[in-house]
Amino acid sequence: MANANETPVPDPARGGEALERDLPLALKGRTLEEAGWCRIDGLTLCVPLWSPSADFFLLRLQFHCYPEWPPSAQFVNPITKDYKLGDDDRWLPNIEAPHLRVHPNYNDQKRQLICNSTTLEFYDLRHSVEARHVWDPERHNFNHTLFTITEAMRLYYRGRQG
């Protein structure tokens, strides 16, 4: 189980294995192509998301510390598949959920934070978290991350940033 007071430690071999294990569950019988997802490398998935007003965003999930920790989750420029502070803010959704917001530059650390307990950055940046929300690899997989972000986008989307 993740510990909110520890720094996530990468284990790429384990992350790749866990992604292979959990990907079919997330796809529910679809292929990556049918789902519209892309797998850039063994540890990186890109998932297209649309707001209720049909604005397009690309969510990048990375599994270097998975499954002990949640996947890294970042909204990225769909061309570069990366996020560059100052240049790519328009590729971030403004989500004003009680439990999730997207910060382009959290605490001036020059890092994007999808501020929710289902993302790796949340722990890496030592955000405070209640015990009942801490990531538990026995009971959570990356679908928890994806569902949480998708639902927050559906219910609390307020337009593009930048």
Binding site: L25, A26, H99, L100, N116, R139, H140, H144, F147, E151
Partner: protein, 103 residues
């Protein structure tokens, strides 16, 4: 995906009915049969033991209709027969949504 509910479905309330519960924390689902006199609360409670031994209800878990994520909290005391008669989540496909923190 739109919820499919057959309004002309012939139901024998003396028999059992099939329910599906999706756990959105893992995307695993379970299907099981219960009597029409079972409440939604009881369906929700019974589903946890069918996922895996580590699964249990968290204080801020929610029970929703899988179709559009409609909140079922106001209806937890209704039996499945009552939910059918009142057209509440008529496909009997439900989902558990876990609480998360942040912002």
């Amino acid at each position: 995906m739109a919820e499919v509910a057959d309004e002309n479905e012939v139901v024998d309330f003396a028999k059992e009915t099939r329910v599906v519960v999706l756990n959105t924390k893992t995307n695993r689902d379970v299907t099981f049969k219960v009597s029409w006199t079972t409440t939604l609360q009881a369906v929700w409670d019974a589903s946890y033991g069918k996922f895996n031994p580590a699964e249990h209800k968290d204080a801020d878990d929610k029970f929703q209709c899988e179709h559009a994520g409609a909140d079922l909290t106001p209806y937890l005391g209704l039996t499945l027969r009552q939910t059918k008669e009142q057209h509440i989540c008529p496909a009997r496909k439900y989902q558990i949504v876990g609480g998360t923190g942040g912002a």
